[in-house]
């Protein structure tokens, strides 16, 4: 059983979930205080730079024990700076290898503040995740081997502007508190009971706080009701409940602590709304989403739907209470959960959309590795660094005349490692309208799948845009995952008008973004060319065709390689014309057997790649 409310401070938490408009800044303070009490919970703070964010960080710093490390970590941090490695100068001075600690080890016992976390590459996130999971970091670099403690609390500052930007999921998944600062005003009156002393006291109490099974059961049940698949979420929520109890001076986790944890850890992660049993007719989804649900449902939702079988997550809560007897589920918990969800929905959305695919890969130098400089670019500094420790040894082996000169061997040669140097991104724009599609959509899907298989072999990236009705939708942001592409394609709905211009423009936007990241984009447009919806969404063939031509010109001007696959029953003038305007290769589907298709993709994507590689 969950303990009854025992103090008045904690009762204040209940107010926020009720009808009164929530005091946003108080929410911010609560989340920050929870983190300061137990940094291992982790915090994802969605906020643009500004006074509110500065105030939040200042507040947090003031609450953390003075003297504990507080390290800023830029998203572009190098592997060496993060993990550590050989300190060359010190090693040469000392005549023995000296390890330079990386940021993760030097922040042990303190807090790492990851700025611009949405730009953090997946590899960096994985290293941080490893420190969070094991409390240690393994160094196996530059001839050094060490296991260093790295018990850190991570605050990820998420400055995403776009819906498909988000910190890597490997990281955000391990951060308990998800907080959005939007609209929170730091000038609002704050909770005076929260002081550095109060938090220090809470930190001391933390280890003694007890939980009972009921609290764990409620958290798991709430996570299930929210459609949260990962088991890390309830675990982090439990830590949060414990911190909340410590803050309130309790030695036992109480109902309001569980609710605080649900509010700050589980609700922002919700992938669906819990259905309150009392009002079964009420559909709490925003209209916009219900309308176009088929087209808009992100792939994860499809999947989580699959993952919820009759007997599990999707169960109505009545069944769950039968399964686990003794469960003390507050009567109106589900309704309150639903209420909590409205505010932070934006945060959850962004997390789902971009998390896994968004590892920032630009055509920049990401490091060096041993290699042959005749094929790749030599990294002179790294080469000299690699040669330096061996000079003493080599000098002693050298004949007298050449002694004293720098000795560089082929094993020292280091070449630059670029990210995304010659990666290709194939962007599919699929016409899923009634006219083109109904008869031929399955063939179009077949064609896309065929090319996907090719892309998989070459480890290209793929993205998928579908256009139908009045607009184009990015069904799949750029990814390397065939699994996701496959899933996404099979769920492709069809019917409606042909907003060709919107489709081309959406593909172009993706292609441009991809080119900015250093990749070589290729647009593959599958359509019958019969546009009848303009880019403003209005019906009318002539205007729609004009818009489509305009969009095609934009593709040519952007210099992006393209391939148009004609879906019409008989090869149509319309599609051919679009292809010509676009400067694209044209291929009619009736003749486009699988082999011809993959050849076409291969040849089109090879041409531009040659000019941009090795930048």
């Amino acid at each position: 059983m969950v303990a009854a409310p025992s103090s008045s401070t904690a009762a204040a938490n209940d107010d926020t979930a009720d009808d009164a408009p929530p005091d946003d800044w108080r929410d911010v303070e609560t989340a920050l205080a929870l983190f300061a009490t137990s940094p291992s919970i982790g915090l994802r703070l969605a906020a643009r730079p500004g006074p509110a964010r500065d105030a939040a960080i200042a507040l947090l710093k003031g609450w953390l024990p003075a003297g504990d490390p507080f390290r800023r970590m830029p998203a572009t941090i190098s592997e060496a700076a993060l993990i550590g490695g050989l300190d060359l100068a010190a090693s040469l001075d000392a005549g023995q290898p000296v390890l330079e600690r990386g940021l993760l080890a030097s922040a042990d016992g303190g807090v790492v503040l990851a700025t611009m976390a949405e730009r953090m590459p997946g590899e960096t996130a994985t290293l941080v995740a490893h420190a969070l999971d094991t409390g240690a970091i393994r160094v196996e670099r530059d001839g050094l081997s060490a296991d260093l403690p790295s018990r850190v609390g991570v605050v990820a500052l998420d400055e995403s502007m776009e819906a498909d930007e988000a910190p890597p999921e490997a990281l955000s998944e391990r951060l308990g508190l998800w907080l959005a600062l939007d609209g929170a005003d730091p000038r609002k009156t704050s909770d005076r009971s929260l002081t550095a002393e109060a938090i220090a006291a809470a930190r001391r109490r933390l280890a003694a706080v007890e939980t009972d099974d009921a609290a764990i059961e409620i958290l798991c049940q709430a996570a299930a009701a929210f459609g949260i698949v990962s088991l890390r979420a309830p675990t982090l929520a439990l830590r949060t409940a414990r911190a909340s109890a410590a803050l309130a001076g309790r030695v036992q986790v109480a109902e309001q602590d569980v609710e605080t944890a649900i509010r700050h850890v589980l609700a922002p992660r919700a992938t669906r709304l819990p259905t309150p049993p009392e009002e079964p007719d009420h559909d709490p989804l925003p209209d916009e989403e219900t309308d176009d649900r088929d087209a808009d449902t992100p792939p994860e939702q499809d999947r989580s739907a699959e993952l919820q079988p009759e007997a599990g997550l999707a169960d109505p809560p009545e069944d769950m209470t039968v399964e686990t007897t003794n469960m003390a589920l507050p009567d109106d918990l589900l309704r309150r959960l639903a209420a909590m969800l409205r505010a932070p929905q934006k945060l959850a959305g962004s997390g789902r959309a971009g998390g896994h695919s968004k590892s920032v890969r630009r055509g920049r130098v990401v490091g060096t590795r041993p290699g042959d400089p005749r094929r790749d670019r030599l990294d002179l500094v790294a080469t000299l660094r690699a040669a330096a420790p061996w000079q003493g040894l080599r000098q002693s082996e050298t004949e007298a005349p050449s002694r004293g000169s720098l000795q560089v061997r082929s094993s020292d040669l280091r070449i630059r490692r670029y990210r995304g140097k010659s990666e290709t991104a194939t962007i599919f724009a699929v016409d899923a309208s009634g006219s083109a599609a109904l008869a031929r959509l399955s063939e179009a899907k077949g064609a896309v799948e065929r090319i996907l298989a090719e892309c998989y072999v070459r480890r290209d990236r793929v993205a998928l845009v579908a256009f139908r009705g009045s607009r184009a939708d990015v069904l799949l942001p750029e990814t390397k995952s065939l699994t996701r592409a496959k899933r996404c394609l099979s769920a492709l709905p069809a019917g409606g008008g042909t907003p060709l211009a919107s489709g081309i423009l959406a593909a172009l936007a993706l292609a441009r973004a991809s080119a900015r990241e250093g990749r070589t984009p290729l647009i593959t447009l599958l359509t019958d060319g019969r546009a009848n919806i303009g880019k403003d969404g209005a019906a009318g063939r002539p205007a729609a065709m004009a818009d489509a031509r305009e969009a095609a010109i934009a593709v040519r001007k952007a210099g992006i390689a393209a391939l148009v696959v004609d879906l019409a029953q008989r090869p149509s003038e319309a599609a051919r014309e679009i292809a010509e305007t676009m400067g694209a290769t044209y291929l009619a589907l009736p003749r486009a057997d699988s082999a011809a298709l993959s050849n076409a993709v291969a040849s089109v994507s090879r041409t531009p790649a040659a000019s941009t590689a090795h930048r």
């Binding site: 592997e79 993990i83 050989l86 090693s91 005549g95 023995q96 290898p97 997946g122 590899e123 994985t126 290293l127 490893h130 999971d133 094991t134 409390g135 160094v139 196996e140 670099r141 530059d142 001839g143 050094l144 490997a170 998944e173 099974d213 764990i216 798991c220 049940q221 088991l231 309830p234 675990t235 830590r239 993952l307 079988p309 007997a311 599990g312 399964e323 686990t324 896994h356 695919s357 590795r369 420790p389 061996w390 003493g392 040894l393 094993s411 490692r417 077949g446 799948e449 065929r450 996907l452 298989a453 998989y456 480890r459 390397k480 995952s481 065939l482 699994t483 592409a485 496959k486 099979s490």
Partner: protein, 341 residues
């Protein structure tokens, strides 16, 4: 040393646990690939493995060679064998070596000992992680994020069973036979087909959906976080039982009968699924044999094959983007069909 979550305390995830135990019984099965959702305890399970592995007898050389197999020994052990001496031995835990992301090539393959070079101007080979993992397990978390040139290195060593390093006029060759264990999340990117092929068994892990199981997972995780020592004590007996079953299975392994009917069934299954080459059948047989040994059976029967088929074959199917069912269910379907036939 940090205490690892006890293997015996892992809730559910039977296929993953089974695959790891099979690899422990018969390393010849090949590596284990664990792919799946986040937060399902993939790396927890692998890191828990070390505690249930039986100890091994090894020569006192940097590569802990197997004294019973002189043909696979390192140069120093070879010299002793040739001289008719038997090497000094000691007993040590089977290594489970973590290859962390961000590790550099010199630490993986081994390189000249930097300290000796700097302080004494002396050339000495410092063995790397591949040497450490010899006769044990090499674990790579987030294997799909591993740099291409490191993947090449691993494939090379895994194929030949030995590691060759040439540096500063020094040429070192040492045995490096290890069971590769990889884990990752398929949404981060696909694995190179060549690397995929190196794994004997593959497991897809998903988050448990049943509420009771989920509650149990969170409860145990919490108990472990709060007092790892006490929690580990609680499951020591469970771990010991698993260790004993692995030891017993190993001793039985050679005596397990594989009847022709089982071989035939395995071949039929592979033909039905269209797996390339003989590797699938071979792995399936080996794994089924180890499974029979673990179960205390004396002969490989259809139920062993049926249980192991998804693990041994699902990653060997040709990619078929048209088939939505996914490879595990394709294997399951083929097993059902064969059973009905």
């Amino acid at each position: 040393m940090k205490i690892a979550f006890p293997f015996a305390a892992i809730v559910g995830q039977d296929s993953m646990k089974l695959a790891l135990q099979i690899a422990a019984v018969d390393p010849a099965v090949g590596g284990v690939l664990v792919f799946g959702d986040r937060g399902t305890g993939k790396s927890t399970a692998v890191r828990a493995l070390a505690a249930v592995l039986p100890e091994m007898t090894a020569a006192t050389c940097p590569y802990h060679c197997d004294p019973a197999r002189p043909e696979e020994a390192c140069e120093s052990c070879l010299a002793r064998h040739a001289a008719g001496e038997s090497p000094d031995t000691h007993v040590l835990p089977v290594p489970v070596v973590d290859l962390p992301l961000g590790a550099t090539e010199d630490r993986i393959a081994g390189a000249l000992d930097l300290e000796r070079a700097l302080s004494a101007g002396e050339k000495r080979f410092e063995p790397g992680l591949l040497a450490k993992a010899h006769r044990g397990f090499l674990y790579i978390d987030e294997i799909n994020l591993l740099e291409d040139h490191l993947v090449d290195l691993l494939l090379d060593v895994a194929a030949s069973g030995e590691n060759v390093v040439e540096r500063e006029g020094l040429s070192v060759r040492h045995p490096a036979r290890f069971v590769l264990i990889g884990s990752g999340n398929p949404e981060e990117g696909e694995l190179r087909p060549q690397l995929l092929d190196r794994f004997g068994l593959s497991v897809e892990v998903t988050t448990p959906e049943d509420l009771k199981t989920r509650i149990e997972v969170v409860k145990r995780r919490d108990a472990f976080e709060r007092d790892p020592v006490k929690f580990a004590d609680l499951y020591e007996a469970g771990n010991a039982a698993i260790r004993d079953s692995i030891i017993a299975a190993r001793s039985r392994l050679a005596d397990i009968v594989v009847p022709d009917s089982a071989l035939e069934k395995a071949a039929q299954l592979c033909i039905r699924l269209g797996t390339d080459g003989l590797r699938g059948e071979l792995t399936l047989m080996r794994a089924a044999r180890a499974y029979a040994a673990l179960q205390g059976d004396t002969e490989v029967v259809w139920s062993h094959l049926a249980r192991l088929a998804p693990l041994a074959l699902s990653h060997r199917l040709r990619r078929d983007p048209l088939d939505e069912a996914g490879s595990v269910s394709r294997v399951a379907r083929a097993v059902d069909e064969l059973e009905a036939a």
